[in-house]
């Protein structure tokens, strides 16, 4: 068990890469250049791991949204049916977005607190890519990217964290402020801007130039460490201040998930967050993957599971049914 189980959800490293001389996707209208880029990407995947390759133009809206909900592609790529494509490793721990803002966005993900692992897997792919195409690079500015905010290493290292106690107490705001002063960014994963539904945040480096890859990883790791310790402390406070009222809230949320017959995404997210906190407090036992459950209950993923189109009302009913079943199977129960 990891030290920050129940706080850190996942770690991710993304590398932005482009082919020298070929205009960036937004400026590119040459079909042949597009297929060159796609083919080089796919050739690298062949050399690296079992994978699936999808062109956005060949996927239905539901399929594209489902991949987006699984955090494997960005919204921008999901709507790029002109020339967007993605390579996804069969284990879903690595994806390469093709023709997003840059020709290649290599991203490696793991479910623990291990940026180094994510970096080394992303850079394995990067090295193979560099063996197949001439990457745009200058000694002074590093990897050349469409947006100057990604120059240098082309790297974004981010950790997704679940911070209910710091959110409840409002201390998250001062933490966000101090993190921003360290040239890191924090944003809510669900919902817009700083309003983090599901109490889930992403902490990542803001600058990519002037630091080595290792320095970036070390900085983000160090800050996430501090934030996690603060969350642990705040959870203790929360328990002693709120006491039985908090337990009541958590168990009511658990009651909703195990008994509801109609469940919206928002209500699921809210209740599942409380249940996650309950699991951390030892109030609720659930051996399954609750973060995975939240993802599979997002609209498009739910439709994929159902195997047929469902309207919003039908989804709410099917979502409730799915959650009830999964929670029973995962030996859920109050301790």
């Amino acid at each position: 068990m990891d030290k920050y189980d129940g706080i850190v959800i996942s770690s991710r490293v993304r590398l932005a890469r482009n082919v020298e001389g070929i205009p960036f996707p937004k400026k590119l209208n040459d079909e042949r250049a597009f297929s060159t880029i796609m083919k080089a990407g796919e050739d690298c995947a062949k050399d690296c791991f079992p994978y699936k390759f999808y062109q956005m133009a060949h996927l239905s809206t539901i399929d594209r949204q489902a991949i987006f909900e699984r955090h494997l592609i960005s919204r921008e790529l999901a709507v790029n049916t002109k020339n967007g494509a993605v390579i996804i490793s069969d284990s879903e721990d690595l994806s390469v977005m093709i023709n997003e803002e840059d020709h290649y966005r290599i991203q490696a993900i793991n479910k623990g607190f291990d940026l180094q692992d994510a970096y080394s897997r992303a850079s394995d792919f990067d090295n193979v890519l560099a063996g197949r195409v001439k990457l745009a690079y200058s000694d002074k500015l590093g990897y050349l990217t469409s947006c100057p905010t990604n120059l240098g290493t082309g790297m974004r290292a981010s950790v997704m964290v679940f911070l209910p106690a710091l959110t409840f107490s409002g201390k998250i705001n001062s933490i966000i402020n101090s993190i921003q002063q360290l040239s890191l960014t924090v944003r809510g994963v669900y919902g817009e801007g700083s309003k983090a539904e599901g109490y889930t945040y992403q902490i990542s480096n803001q600058v990519s130039l002037g630091q080595t890859e290792k320095e970036i990883i070390d900085n983000v790791t160090k800050v996430v460490d501090v934030v996690c310790e603060a969350e642990i402390e705040e959870r203790k406070n929360l328990q002693s201040i709120e006491g039985v009222r908090l337990t009541d809230k958590i168990m009511r949320a658990y009651g909703t998930l195990t008994n509801a017959y109609v469940l919206s995404t928002a209500e699921l997210l809210e209740c599942a967050s409380l249940v996650k906190l309950g699991m951390a407090f030892g109030l609720v036992r659930f051996d399954g993957d609750i973060n995975g459950l939240i993802i599979s209950c997002q609209p498009a993923n739910l439709i994929k599971i159902a195997g047929k189109n469902l309207n919003a009302d039908e989804r709410d009913v099917f979502r409730a049914e799915t959650v009830r079943k999964v929670l029973k199977k995962g030996n859920g129960g109050n301790v």
Binding site: N18, G21, P23, F24, K26, K27, D47, I62, A78, V79, N80, T81, K82, N127, V128, A130, G131, A136, Y137, S138, D139, K140, L141, G142, L144, T145, S146, C147, P148, T149, L151, G152, M155, T167, F168, S169, G170, N173, S183, V207, S208, L209, G210, Q211, T212, E213, K249, V262, S264, T265, A266, E267, E270, Q298, P299, A300, A312, D313, R315, D316
Partner: protein, 157 residues
């Protein structure tokens, strides 16, 4: 109780959240609760089109020879059009880089190409897929036979 949002239908979903130490309660009807349900129309292609029009500027405008992006266009969008733009408008770009990144000195790693050696069978499989893609089925069949022979040889040995 009426829905907080539409104030028309009965609220059936009750969401209670502690935000900044204050309890915030939301009572929503199933209809409005669904708006939270990141609707399926999020994938409407809106942002993409506008960026595809390039600015019309006079022939004297400073322009990247490789991709046609002008310095003004770069200033407006904040995005380079290709890797050559960084040389073409160095004077315009470098101050912006300095502002967003705080420095102009890359210290991270440089590309370190690795060429993966394919096994003979992998290489043949690869060539077979290529042949199929080019619809050269005769070649594909020939390669398939070679693969079979190699695999057979392996089993016997």
């Amino acid at each position: 109780m009426l829905c907080d949002k539409c104030k028309k239908r009965q609220a059936s979903v009750h969401i209670k959240t502690l935000i900044n130490g204050v309890y915030v309660e939301k009572h929503l009807c199933s209809e409005c609760a669904r708006d939270y349900d990141s609707e399926l129309d999020i994938l409407s292609p809106s942002g993409i089109v506008s960026s595809m029009f390039s600015t019309i500027e006079g022939p004297t405008a400073k322009r990247c020879k490789n991709c046609g992006t002008t310095a003004t266009e770069f200033k407006r969008s904040g995005k380079a059009g290709c890797s050559e733009c960084y040389k073409a408008f160095e004077d315009t770009i470098l101050p912006i880089v300095k502002r967003v990144q705080g420095t102009l000195n890359h210290v991270g790693r440089a590309p370190s190409p690795v060429v993966k050696e394919r096994s003979e069978i992998d290489q043949l499989r690869y060539e077979m897929e290529e042949a199929v893609r080019k619809e050269d089925y005769r070649l594909a069949a020939e390669i398939r036979d070679k693969i079979k022979a190699l695999e057979g040889g392996r089993q016997d040995g």
